[in-house]
Amino acid sequence: MQETVVSGQTSETSWWTRLTAGPLRILVSLIVPVLTFLALRWSFAYMRDTEANKLLIGAVALIVGVGAVWVLFILTDNVVSLLPERVRESVRPFVFVGPALVVIALYLIYPMLNTLWLSFGNANGTEFVGVDNYLYLFTSPANLIAFRNNVLWLVFVTGFVVSMGLVIAVMVDRIGFWEPIAKSFIFLPMAISSVGASIIWKFVYSFQPAGRPQIGLFNAIYTAFGGDPQGWLIIKPWNNFFLIAIMIWMLTGFAMVVISAAVKGVPSELLEAARIDGATEIQIFFGVIIPYIQGTLLTITTTVIIMVLKVFDIVYVMTNGQHETEVLANAMYRELFRFRHYGRSGALAVILLLAVIPVMIYNVRGFRQQRR
């Protein structure tokens, strides 16, 4: 629109634009995050000195945090508006997108590269040791158990969650009035934190010596059938499965809800036609419903895999990796905080990262195809 005004100076402004736009873009990208950060830090330090009430700190910090972000966005935009025409329009997008890029660079990209570097270093990152940490992780018996357990988690949680979610989704579709109620109760564990779920199940697995009343559901049922009370969480290697059950309990409802939405999308004409052709319900399930919703099944499977791969909370709370229940994420935490070994801890994190790279590539390709 207003470009016509300056069209005569195009050749002159273009080199100037090119020269100034770069630094200016970086500058406007930094204004919001850096100044917000400084404002928050200053207000925190000030309140710490005055020993302000905690709720007051929260309220002030919220106002400063949120308010500062907005004020600074407005401010930056106004400053950019003062710039000469050509420069302005090439800089302005960075007022919007810059802060997000700066935060992502600082909180995701830089740490990722740094962790990769640390994983080739010694305990406190002062010396380069090559692949020693990786060799250690792939040979030490304790860590091999962690690898084994992660595989167990991946296979059993993913397998059970997806297949049970699918079966329940198909069944729940046919129970009419009760459907939303049954769905709510099966989905409910998804709202609970892993820590809460762990306490819930620790109580289910609770153990009292024989002769004492069993207050854990599992041992109560087991002794009612004549068994001796068991400490379920210390029986190797089955204790892993008792932990795995917790995550299955948490995620099945989630899989069910997602798959259920897909099942409802199967055209009823398709199902009717199959029934008229004399197909049994089992044949319809495998021949019509599953092929129709396979995209959803793939999505939910990768989603569950990513969640399971990083399982930490459940193991941390239930056993803290004792009795051969260690998993990679807990081992990583332990290396970091108990042994202060940045190298090994970093190497474990890198292994987790490598494991999700196929999903990352799949996501990016899926996104690009969708955009085309």
């Binding site: 830090r41 929260g58 960075f94 997108v97 962790t115 892993s194 306490i199 609770s206 996501n363």
Partner: protein, 297 residues
């Protein structure tokens, strides 16, 4: 379904047949729902029983005579809220969670708008990068950030956790908001431009109000994610009473008070209250948000 197309008589027959064939399925599904609920029921009932009776008999024995008022008590709740520091941890959780939801939404909304409606060099590449970063396991960021925080004297502060959650939540937030904002009709954005609105005004007056549904979905997802998170809170805040959030406090209680179920059950239930309220009141957004956000790393 296709029942509408049939005649009345047939419809009644079909309904009957449907009812009887559905009966076993209904039984199985309701049975599963019941089993799924039992463990949670166990801690809810136990949290309302006196310490001695929790130890003396299983929680299910309460169901034999549920109306004897004397066997119920609120004492466990009073105790965990004060003595065990769950009350303080609850407030800390709120202080951590609210800014950790609001700050990333603000920053992500601006970015999503730019990705959707502005031209700038590197736009496609940067966005693909963000899509890729969504599933990065946050474990991979912990050590360097911890070292930075120690250097900046920010370890164990709320500020550090807010910014960490902001960083970890941003790729997902940008991705979700972009999907929605880029699908707004181009005519609306164009007409605002023609009317002389600056990109900033277009964004705040037009795009933001229109994006409320997607913002709500992400907000609920992020709220639950941060509220239920243990790892980030443990690493950047630690377990000291003054700053620890409710999940970290509970995890510490499991260690300190392993078999004191009157404490653990009441504490666990307090931690569940807010997610459960969100779950029952906003179930539609809850499902949408969880589904959209489940890929987060």
């Amino acid at each position: 379904m296709t029942l509408e197309t049939r005649t009345d008589g047939n419809r009644a027959m079909a309904w009957l047949r449907n009812f009887f064939s559905a009966a076993p399925v209904r039984l199985v599904v309701l049975g599963i729902a019941f089993i799924w609920t039992l463990p949670t029921m166990g801690i809810l009932i136990s949290s309302l029983r006196p310490e001695d009776s929790i130890k003396a008999s299983g929680w299910w024995t309460m169901l034999e005579h549920p109306f004897e008022a004397a066997q119920w008590t609120m004492a466990n709740y009073a105790r965990v809220l004060t003595t065990d520091g769950i009350g303080e941890a609850f407030i800390n959780s709120l202080l951590v969670t609210i800014p950790s939801v609001v700050i990333p939404i603000t920053i992500a909304a601006f970015a999503a708008y730019a990705f959707a409606w502005m031209e700038f060099p590197g736009r496609a590449v940067l966005f693909v990068l963000i899509v890729g970063l969504m599933v990065v396991p946050l474990q991979v960021t912990l050590i360097p950030l911890l070292r930075l925080y120690i250097g900046w004297d920010m370890n164990g502060t709320f500020l550090g956790v807010w910014l960490a959650h902001t960083g970890f939540g941003l790729p997902l937030a940008v991705f979700l908001l972009f999907g929605y904002i880029s699908s707004l009709p181009a005519e609306i954005i164009e007409s605002a431009k023609v009317d002389g609105a600056s990109p900033f005004t277009t964004f705040t007056q037009l795009v933001l109000p229109l994006s409320v549904p997607v913002i709500a979905s992400f907000a609920i997802f992020q709220f639950l994610w941060v509220w239920n998170d243990l790892l980030v809170a443990l690493v950047f805040l630690g377990t000291s009473r003054e700053v620890s959030v409710i999940t970290a406090r509970l995890a510490a209680l499991v260690g300190e008070r392993g078999e004191q179920w009157h404490v653990l059950t009441a504490g666990a239930f307090i931690a569940m209250v807010i997610p459960l309220i969100v779950f029952f009141l906003l179930q539609r957004y809850f499902v949408r948000g969880l589904t959209a956000g489940s890929v987060k790393g």
